[in-house]
């Protein structure tokens, strides 16, 4: 095996790896703020839960009474989270 071919593998790899370090750092990324991420998560969860119980009710797995009770509770929780999220986003 020619030495040239054997050297090509490590040298080529090193050059390719080091290239980004020669360029100036321009890109930065946004890190989501932990509290906002947590509230967004909660909101997504509650919206999903409302959708779930609506579906369960529509196919007959939840009685009208259970559905109504659960929906009211979830809606109240959701309103609270939406308000908290708005405040957190404004103060961020």
């Amino acid at each position: 095996m020619s030495w040239f071919v054997l050297l090509l593998v490590p040298v080529g790899a090193i050059l390719y790896l080091l290239l980004p370090l020669l360029r100036p750092d321009r890109e930065i990324w946004d890190v989501p703020e932990a509290r906002i991420e947590s509230l967004q998560e909660k909101k997504r969860m509650l919206v999903g839960a409302v959708r779930d119980i609506d579906f369960e009710h529509s196919i007959g797995n939840l009685t009208d009474e259970d559905h109504l009770e659960a929906r009211e509770r979830l809606k109240a929780d959701l309103s609270g989270v939406v308000v908290d999220l708005k405040i957190a986003e404004e103060t961020d």
């Binding site: 790899a13 290239l19 990324w29 998560e41 119980i53 009685t63 009474e65 259970d66």
Partner: protein, 659 residues
Amino acid sequence: MLQLGSVTLMTLCPVALFGIIASFVGGAKRRMGLVRAGERSLLVSFLLLTLAIAILVFQFYTDDFNSSYVAGHSNIDLSPFYKATSLWSGQEGSLLFWNWLLGVYGATVLLVHRKKNRDLMPYVTGIILTAILFFAILNGIVSSPFVPLVSEHGGTTVPFAPQDGRGLNPLLQHPAMAIHPPMLYLGLVGFVVPFAFAMAALLVRSPGSRWIRTTRRWTLFAWCFLSCGVLLGARWAYVELGWGGYWAWDPVENASLMPWLTGTAFLHSVMIQEKKGMMKVWNVALVIATYFLCLFGTFLTRSGVVSSVHAFAQSPIGFYFITFIAIGLALSIWLAYSRREFLAPESGLDSVVSRESSFLFNNLILLAACFAVFWGTIFPVISEAFRGEKISVGPPFFNKINIPIGLFLLFLTGVGPLLAWRKTSMAGLRRNLTWPTAAALVVMIVLLAQGMREFYALICFSLFAFVVAGVLLEFYRGSRVRMSQLGESIVLAVYRLTAKNTRRYGGYIVHIGTALLFAGIAGTAFNSNVRTELLEGESIDIAGYNVRVDHIESDRTPNYEYERAQITLTEDGREIKKLYPERRFYFASEQASSEVEIHTTFSEDIYVVYASHGPNDGAVIQVYHNPLVRWLWVGGMILVGGTIITIFPNQKRREQIGA
């Protein structure tokens, strides 16, 4: 070629090490140049591993017996198909193959997620590169597939290339064995993705379920392949090993089952975190356990610490594995502990009678099963450490513990989908459980009336009916609404119902597959077998079948010589099938193997083994009657099919994307 292979693997180590440092430092300091260099390291690692694999495959196809690995695992007359599979038939090649799959996963994850999860990706890259570096060290230093074969002449070693290789182990020359290892490896290696994202989320103090949502499909993908791998391994054991069964609780089988059990628990418990923000610590613990159990299984297979029919010979890599596992596990646990404030639950359990509660029980049961398997598997090691002798617990221990656990799990498989999230009222419970319970009772009464008295089998078949009835009820209720409101036909309604909620209804299909698997396993309660020497024209009876030896012959091929019996299988005097079981002796590897013949119906298997040449010049034939084995394979296929459905996005989402 050997030199190029070695240089490739030696280059991989510094590339991966550089990538790890660049990724972690780049992530912590938010330096994009370093992050990009880390990403490039991962891509270069993948390319180097691909080159190494290509070199090894090339050596197999060109019969380059100058390579110790090729000479030890192939021969000139080996078919081209098995020359490709020889790649992973030995320790060195299988480690390289494992690492290449890590590279495939790493490069794919990087290309798919680097824009969406900018903050997590440097750490994900660093963690995957750490795994790659570990395997690269093993392959480059401890267990290289690119070692030349040498012979000693007067105290000096000179390169040596034999005329022919030692050949592939005959037991591995089977189609199931050709695809079983890649499937299994795709599963075991694939769990690195959720693990890496979980650790990355902890490192950046991301409190939510973003890592779970991001890796849901990766986890399902890995679980699906792991399921396929486990099932194909069982299938291979059944049709190739010739002992009439498919699962012997061998340490290597257990090694693949343990991460499957914790992976299954993880797939269920992540839903609770997504839906209710609960069990965050539990999910992190499960993903850590699953990932390290995948590595632990590899350690068991390769270290030689436990005896197994298909473990590799004892080798020094066991020490490296256990060190890597110990350090990795300690760091992961420390990280989870140090970030515990971000893992606090966002809500509590509303009611014990709820779907999340059933998932919680399902998790506990799966972990209990995993612990029982773990304990039984490592018991020989523990007994040797404390009493000085290896004591194996054997199948009776595993069966005694796991049968009741499995039945409870089957019960939960049926109950879970019938309970609502958060809370199920008594009225809802009555409404949802009535039909499945009735189905279970009917099956139990019918089986009792037919004389079945095996307790566990009776319970299992009743629970099978319970699960299937529950799932069918769910499909019926969902499709009924579509039929009445949208005027769809039953077929279209079921299709659209599933397509619009692939996770839910795909999951139900997985449950049907699981129930079939359990029923197939319950069939073993009625297994029987007979072994005798038969001369030409003689026959034996088993389970209503007559097995007659018509003719015994022997011959040879370039690869092996064989003895074969021509057998006629009849039922009630009617010929069913001709069977040709044979016993082979492979020249290159100097190993014997049995080629079994199986007559399969949906209700039972007649499994015929040519055990040996008899003392009276007849054929020693062993015949097994195995009921319901096909249910197992069909159940497995349904399970895999259901999992594939759950991986697909909901049709509604696709429509939205299209709009």
